[in-house]
Amino acid sequence: MSALAHVFEAAGLSTVVLASMHEVVERMKPPRALYCEFPLGRPLGRPGDVELQRDVLERALALFDSPHQVLRTHPLVIESDEQPLACSIPPRFDPALPAAVDEAQGLRAAYNRSLDHRGFTAVGRVIDADTIPEALRVLDRWATGEPWTEHPLPGKNTVAVCHDIRSYYTEAALELATGPAPGSRSVEAWFHDETEAGRTVLGARAALQAQGAPFPFWFYMTPGHR
């Protein structure tokens, strides 16, 4: 972002950066930046909080009063909410299937409701919703020790497939969850700590690593700290 600010300023545009990493923006020195210590992925603070979002923009625009380079910090700090989302998963339907496959099929109705009312989906980077259970079936094989080279993954790109699985689960979960809007890592915590798919992805990732698969194949299948 700060790199673009420099490029744009050189072209004659006035810019202001909403910065999310203090050490980076400090060193990059864009002409105007407002550092906000908010959860990564939520640079305006909180979804649905109109007042805060407007406040962030007004503070950012106020930096145009400065005649020289300026870095200011928003006074509010928002911590990530790491508690798993309260979202009950449909009960097992077909015990003959791997748990993650059964679970994904059980979430399809909720995913469809989300698609119906939003009209679009983030699923589809490499596989569509119909292929999610099959992808989980392959990941389950990897996770249970079968060689990954012998069981090709639909969609091929492990990182993109995991993105599609995560998006499918997220969209279904936001349909099923009750209570206030989840905090920033709440759905992530739910997915990896409480769903069979999340456990399967972690297991497949560990198996790829153990079998010597290239680092980029497995590392970005989940958030790095997991």
Binding site: P47, L57, E188
Partner: protein
């Protein structure tokens, strides 16, 4: 969930440990019109796109053009290391287009640009394409739209 507590902290620590590109003699362009008359555009590194647009590849250096009225946007960013759900709940938390419309309606800014732009934040470390090619190309599009202020939003 103490293990997950460290998600953002780990990423910020990682960011702090990375080398950053340097810009010798950086430009500073003062705002040449009053804020209340300025045309504002958003440029985000969240890799946003409409479903009908080309998806972002893992190290995509190009940008996608978003129209002022677009709201059904997908976040095409490849990193799993930040929250994507806030955006799903309310796109303004990343791309504050409705807030800009309100600021324009209230006369705080002049108006909202007809077009906005999305890059992918995960650029090659040298950002050379961004500096020499797609960044200046995007600047030209913004200038052609009569934009005075660019608000840059990360994820």
């Amino acid at each position: 969930m103490s293990e997950t507590k460290s998600g953002d902290a780990a990423m910020r620590e990682y960011g702090a440990s990375q080398e950053v590109p340097t810009f010798d003699d950086p430009a500073f362009t003062p705002l040449s019109t009053p804020l209340s008359e300025a045309r504002v555009a958003i440029v985000t590194s969240a890799a946003l796109h409409r479903a009908d647009q080309e998806r972002f590849s893992p190290s995509d250096t190009k940008y996608r053009v978003l129209d002022r009225g677009d709201r059904d946007l997908v976040m095409g960013h490849w990193s799993p290391n930040f929250d994507h759900t806030g955006f799903q709940l309310d796109l303004n938390v990343v791309y504050p287009i409705d807030r800009l419309e309100e600021l324009a309606a209230d006369g705080v800014i002049g108006d909202v640009s007809p077009r906005h732009f999305a890059f992918a934040g995960n650029q090659p470390a040298t950002v050379s394409e961004l500096r020499l090619d797609t960044g200046p190309a995007c600047a030209n599009e913004l200038l052609a739209d009569g934009v005075d202020i660019v608000v840059l939003t990360p994820v």
